[in-house]
């Protein structure tokens, strides 16, 4: 949970706070902890990552102990518990994508970005992560950036996407 960025208090924007309250109201009285995963997504959407200060804030919102948030955030793969770049590329490394050339395309992507899995480019633009099956096996190879799926990837297509996002 160490961080290299300056620690600063985190609060939701007024719109996100309203959204958070709507989410919390979805669950029966006394069961507000159910809102934890959606709230962590909301936090990450705002901050870019799941920062320790953000997790403490979410704990306060839900009236639970910070450790209850940490243990959840570290269990699931979608929460970035370390700072990440502007674009996080989550690349599927699982069987069906590999059958369609996923490993070769991934090697090209790493070369193109000049980084390895888990690293961020020096300009802070791209972070590369490997993920397990993205449920798009018929359209592999595939990666995801935020909410968007990029499917049927080839080396050329990867270059186009990186060019586009680098602008």
């Amino acid at each position: 949970m160490s961080t290299t960025v300056e620690n600063k208090p985190v609060v939701f924007t007024p719109e996100r706070l309203t959204k958070a309250q709507e989410i919390i109201a979805n669950y029966p009285e006394g069961r507000q902890k159910s809102a934890l995963l959606p709230l962590l997504h909301l936090l990450q959407e705002q901050e870019g990552w799941t920062s320790p200060e953000g997790m403490d804030y979410v704990a306060r919102l839900l009236g639970i102990q910070p450790i209850e948030v940490y243990e959840v955030a570290t269990f699931y793969t979608m929460y970035h518990i370390d700072p990440v770049g502007k674009h996080v590329i989550e690349y599927c490394r699982t069987g069906p994508c590999c059958l369609m050339g996923g490993e070769e395309v991934y090697a090209h992507l790493k070369q193109r970005l000049g980084i390895d899995t888990g690293q961020t480019t020096v300009d802070g633009q791209f972070t590369l992560k490997e993920v397990e099956c993205l449920a798009a096996c018929g359209m592999g190879p595939v990666f995801q950036i935020r909410e968007k799926y990029y499917m049927n990837l080839t080396n050329e297509r990867v270059d186009e996407i990186i060019d586009e996002l680098s602008k």
Partner: protein, 446 residues
């Protein structure tokens, strides 16, 4: 023309909107169920239909519903399992993305049948864009009076909540999903008590897959007998198959259960055959967890009959010569595929996704991955193959949830049918580690 229960209207432009879906006959099941049927009558129709759980386990849905405890003054819940994460499986993704109202209609009818007033759709967090589609569709249905308080003036109330997961395959296991829905780590619970007695918030709960729930509207409209008339034997109705790998037409197909495996692979209507210039080597029929089969066993039973796309035919011969329909994740391998590499890949997946609660799974999946890795990369020992068989056997059946079995079966079956490939890797490490190297000994290609 084969019957389409789920995908008949999926290509109609605008079908993701309430109005177009309604024009195609959507939400008539809600009207019929809430205005003319009792909850017990709906459960009865679902039982008659014989629809089996489409998430992979294949347990009869109607029977699961009838186990639901009904203590006075305690809420009941319906939870839709949309955490589809099994490699090779992407049908629920397809269904929710293209025709979200079909699932919502199924949720309303099913919730009414079970007496639930608050129901959840737990969607894997990676599909955030699908979650937005579902939320929009729910808002539309609510605005039209099909959700919320006093639906269609019948006095029935239902709130539908879409819950995003956080990225964990284990949350597809129903009790892990409930833990996750309660805001905790996705550690599966010991059973009993089953969710039907103590599920979400310790209340009676039914957890069903997206595809299972989506059939409910058709069953209400057409009756359980009409559903049971489709398919063969105990494999009633239609099934969505997600086809991937070395075929000409990867995609999601709705088939009537009972189609020969051979037809499904080669007919233009479905996979359109193996990609040009290549031959069929192996098949994973129901998602990465089910046993892999070599081509000849995938197409025919031990007695020479054609193998069919049904729960029974695919499992014919047990694990010695059969496999499972599972979730319908159909992965086809041609002769360029290295079974050792693929098995290592699947093994890495299960090691990564083990929740770590049970030692046999936590430690065993890591062992299997390590041993497979060293075989694949030319450092295998002569005793490694037997070691893998032994580890797989020690995981199977010794864990709280079925993830242990799911991790063991791909390894055990790959060795059962492709032992010579593993041996070749160990005997010829320098050759096996060449880029694209595949053992081409006496493998039976079709």
């Amino acid at each position: 023309m084969a019957t389409k229960i789920l995908t008949e209207h999926i290509n109609v432009p605008g079908i993701e909107t309430f109005d177009v879906y309604r024009k195609q006959g959507g939400y008539t099941a809600v009207e019929k169920a809430l205005k003319t049927m009792t909850p017990e009558a709906i459960v009865e129709e679902v039982k008659k239909a014989g629809v089996r759980g489409r998430g992979g386990a294949g347990f009869p849905m109607g029977m699961k519903w009838s186990f639901l405890a009904k203590p006075e003054g305690v809420p009941r819940y319906l939870v839709c399992n949309a955490d589809e994460s099994e490699p090779g499986t992407f049908k629920d993704h397809y269904l929710m993305k293209h025709i979200p109202h079909l699932l919502i209609e199924g949720m309303i009818v099913s919730s009414f049948a079970l007496g639930a007033n608050k129901s959840f759709i737990y969607v894997r967090g990676e599909l955030m864009y699908v979650i937005r589609i579902l939320e929009k569709a729910i808002a539309e249905a609510k605005a039209k009076g099909f959700l919320g308080k006093n639906i269609l003036g019948t006095g029935y109330d239902l709130e539908l909540v879409v819950q995003p997961g956080g990225g964990a395959y284990i949350c597809g296991e129903e009790t892990a999903l409930l833990e996750s829905l309660e805001g905790k780590r996705g550690n599966p619970r010991n059973k009993p008590p089953f969710p039907a007695v103590k599920g979400l918030y310790q209340c009676p709960t039914v957890v069903n897959n997206v595809e299972s729930i989506a059939t409910a509207a058709w069953i209400v409209n057409n009756g359980g007998d009409a559903y049971a008339a489709i398919g063969i034997g105990r494999s009633t109705g239609t099934k969505l198959i997600s086809a991937s790998g070395h075929i000409n037409k990867p995609g999601v197909y709705e088939i009537e259960l009972g189609v020969p495996v051979e037809d499904f692979i080669y007919a233009d209507e479905w996979c359109g055959g193996i990609r040009p210039g290549h031959k069929f080597k192996a098949l994973v029929a129901g998602g990465s967890s089910v046993p892999i089969l070599p081509a000849n066993l995938a197409l025919t039973l031990a007695n020479g009959d054609k193998r069919l796309m049904t729960y029974e035919s695919l499992s014919d011969g047990g694990f010695a010569t059969g496999t499972m329909l599972g979730s319908g994740g159909f992965i086809v391998f041609d002769e360029t595929s290295c079974i050792v590499r693929n098995t290592w890949n699947f093994s890495r997946f299960y090691h990564h996704e083990s929740c770590g609660q049970c030692s046999p799974c936590r430690e065993g999946t890591g062992w299997m991955e390590k041993v497979l890795h060293r075989i694949e990369y030319g450092h295998g020992h002569q005793q490694d193959i037997d070691l893998l068989v032994d580890v797989a056997k020690k995981i199977e059946g010794n864990t709280i949830c079925p993830l242990g079995d799911a991790a063991a079966w791909p390894v055990a079956s790959a060795i059962r049918h492709f032992r010579d490939e593993f041996q070749w890797h160990i005997d010829n490490p320098s050759e096996a580690t060449q880029p694209g190297a595949v053992y081409r000994g006496d493998m039976a290609l079709v």
